[in-house]
């Protein structure tokens, strides 16, 4: 039984490590901040929960269980908040590649609230943030 649990724990950590690798590949290859964030959020929630499950399966103690639940719970509550703040800053500082977007719902809502949207930046440029 403990052998099965050991192998299962290692398997869960292996899956978590694979998600980390996938996120890093996406981070290196995707073209703008929002799509990189899309890749980056995978190991932060699902990957970390897999890793935490793997640790608990191979340690098998209540003390480890408490810490592991705390880690997963805190990450589940804080990761969306951080991602929201970062993407909000990305949008407001105009670092969105608008030529890559199919649809910009936030721009429509902003227009409804009395804001206008200037012309899209020319193809290939990543906006004014590139200059610094």
């Amino acid at each position: 039984m403990s052998a099965v649990l050991d192998v299962l724990g290692a398997l869960f950590v292996l899956l978590g490590a694979f998600l980390c690798l996938a996120a890093a590949v996406g981070l290196a290859r995707f073209p703008d901040v929002l799509s990189r964030m899309h890749a980056a959020t995978k190991p932060q929630t699902l990957g970390l929960i897999l890793v935490a499950t793997g640790v608990e399966l191979s340690l098998r103690s209540w003390a480890a269980f408490g810490t592991v639940v705390l880690i997963a719970g805190l990450q589940l509550t804080t990761a969306p908040v951080a991602a929201h703040l970062v993407s909000r800053t990305v949008y407001r500082s105009n670092q969105v590649r608008r030529d890559l977007l199919d649809r910009d719902d936030l721009a429509e809502d902003l227009a409804e609230a009395g804001f206008t949207l200037g012309p899209a930046p020319e193809e290939g440029s990543e906006g004014p943030a590139d200059r610094r």
Partner: protein
């Protein structure tokens, strides 16, 4: 037999985490904006947490678990504070200083618009 299977899995995980860390550091150094670096730092923290977990199951001890806990909170605090810092600084760069015009594509308030709801 079981030890060997676990060892192979742990080695494969360590290899993937190593490659992931290198790619993340590459993105961190290339940028181009500081927000790219924040996102990369978040992923790097996730990679380090996974590496600590790997060490815990390899040596069968739980000393690194509090470190994982602190790291996950540290990533959150770092991302939030840098996002706020960049937001404050980019207010000045959203408008072109010389022409007093917003850069192309910027969100601009219509002068005739009412109060925001």
């Amino acid at each position: 037999m079981v030890d060997m299977v676990v060892m192979v899995m742990v080695s494969a995980s360590a290899l993937m985490l190593g490659v992931a860390a290198v790619l993340t550091v590459v993105r961190m150094s290339r940028g181009p904006s500081s927000l790219d670096r924040v996102v990369a730092a978040d992923v790097l923290i996730a990679v380090v947490i996974a590496a600590l977990a790997l060490e815990a199951i390899l040596n069968d001890h739980s000393t690194t678990l509090p470190v994982m806990l602190v790291l996950s909170l540290l990533g959150f605090a770092g991302a939030v504070s840098i996002a706020r810092f960049v937001a404050d600084r980019d207010k000045a760069t959203r408008w072109d200083v010389e022409s007093q015009q917003p850069p192309p594509g910027a969100v601009e308030r219509r002068p005739d618009a009412g109060e925001r709801r």
